[in-house]
Symmetry: C2
């Protein structure tokens, strides 16, 4: 399996490393403006590979890979031209762009276009990641499989942002004052979690639920204590993160409720991190994963692990709900 990595940020870097270390997937090229001209191995902190990071997408045409991993942006609008170029060169695509996890409702026209393009070129496009892509959608969905009836789904992902870099702190509003936080929400600088509508609609479409409204809410997590990471300082009274939640309705009834408070050092105020899923129906199911599945590592893992499945899948724009259950392909013994 010949792979090109498009984007060598923290996530793309980890995926590329996984591909190289797998022993049976082969990284044949990489595209990244920030690292163009350097040896890929060097960028990944490994031995030199003899492959130079390109600034041009044409490296895809030249190297003729089976699949392109796109880890450049969270948004359909930005990855669409990249996906288009890869598909037109007969390449399958795995992307970690959050909006691509279930683009059919948020971007119906673009989705139809990508689906028909993929079918015409006989390749598969998949958006995945830890969330959206697994914790608050695929995992929930699979649990409903053992239910005779599902009335309501409530899920919480309580995680620790401390390992992340400056960009994440800014988009979550970490280190702002409450006033700056409100301002950041208005200007769109603070966005919270990207993926609630995608996770909700992936579940809803699979269950046959006709969602009539989705409400999202972003609230500042005001710290009572001093919290600090290498990239940000939070004094008492300042914002340690964003408490982002979403409710999906059918008529007046809330049928899916998701909470995803993201902050640095939650333990300093006694908050235990974890992934929690409650399904109300017949039977009820109450699941806890403690601590939470770590975001960065798990996104790197699932993007790599889906590569062989995507290469083997039917052509089209697919989601995690369409494909076989994920599994590790990186631990062959």
């Amino acid at each position: 399996m010949r792979i090109v990595s498009w984007g060598l940020g923290a996530m793309g870097n980890g995926i590329a490393k996984n591909i190289i270390q797998s022993g049976y997937m082969k990284l044949v090229g990489a595209i990244d403006l920030n690292h163009a001209g350097k040896d890929v191995g060097e960028v990944l902190g490994m031995d030199k590979l003899g492959i130079v990071v390109s600034k041009d997408k044409e490296i895809i045409e030249k190297t003729n890979p089976d699949l392109v991993v796109i880890a450049t942006s969270s948004f359909v609008k930005e990855v669409l031209p990249q996906i288009e170029y890869a598909v037109k060169n007969h390449c399958n695509v795995v992307t970690i762009a959050e909006e691509m996890a279930f683009p059919f409702d948020s971007h119906p026209e673009e989705s139809l276009y990508m689906d028909s393009l993929a079918r015409r070129y006989g390749v598969t496009i998949l958006g995945t990641g830890v969330n959206p892509g697994f914790v608050l959608d695929t995992l929930i969905l699979s649990l409903t499989g053992v239910c005779n009836r599902v009335d309501k789904i409530v899920a919480r992902r309580i995680n620790d942002l401390s390992p992340f870099g400056k960009t994440v702190m800014e988009t979550q509003g970490v280190g702002t004052t409450p006033e700056q936080f409100e301002e950041g929400l208005k200007t769109g600088k603070i966005v919270g979690h990207i993926g609630f509508p995608q996770s909700i609609m992936m579940i809803a479409r699979a269950l046959g639920w006709n969602i009539t409204k989705i409400e999202e809410e972003r609230k500042p997590i005001i710290s009572n204590v001093h919290r600090e990471t290498p990239v940000v300082k939070v004094e008492p009274g300042m914002v340690a993160g964003c408490n982002h939640s979403a409710k999906a309705y059918i008529g007046d009834e809330v049928v899916i409720e998701m909470q995803h408070p993201q902050q640095i050092h939650p333990h300093l105020e006694g908050v235990e991190t974890g992934d929690y899923i409650e399904i109300y129906g017949d039977p009820d199911i109450k699941l806890a994963i403690k601590p939470e599945i770590p975001g960065g590592k798990a996104t790197i893992a699932i993007a790599t692990n889906m590569i062989p499945i995507v290469i083997g899948a039917e052509p089209g724009l697919k989601t995690m709900a369409d494909l076989p259950v994920p599994r590790s392909v990186l631990s062959i013994k």
Copy 2:
């Protein structure tokens, strides 16, 4: 979707009810020696349906269903002729026979035969259930999907047998003396859980793990207190259930460890029921579902929920690892 139910015991009964209540699947026939001649609705405790339970498999040929649900036995040897007959009549098959959850290693020749037969007739065969079929295999597998490395898997399913009938009590040794329990293991009357080799090999094949040995152990759970259900009485010193466990090795290394103690009223001795999965690797994942996913309800649910997926799947003998993630198809809103 036209369905025939083969077997109307507790599980087959629940699945047939689900099919009827779904509103979009249609039960067109039923086969069961114990209920032959009665109206299906009557057997299910519902209104009369105008469908008479047949004693003959030929009802499949007559009613021409899309799929046959087989809930008659735990063993490949016993369901194979039933599957064969259904497939030769161009029917897809869902069965809850535990050994069918992953028959490729325990029954390689029969599996090859079923797979080629299914392909020749253009239909799909699936073995599923709560366990094997979900808790100790599909769910574990999906969690490895967010791992960059998997070293070892440890899982426990601690459940309560109290709701079950006489047959289950006998196969688990509930109500025996420790001597009778040992004797029952020798004669094969007490079997414990059916499905460890299937769950282990489903995971191992998907991960690319070359298992060299599987060891199973069955120990009596001696009660310290009085325990009682409508069908069995256990005095202190007697057996309240079977502590069945399995270890899978690669060489000398244990790579998968599963424990499945099954007993009546575990809470009477402070044992909390639940499903617990621990994956050691990068990252580690620790999951708990408390209380455990209830066996009977969940088997009925997943068997029904997989029907549309199986009808839509590629031909062949499939497992839960080959098909899209399960999801409830019984709660359309």
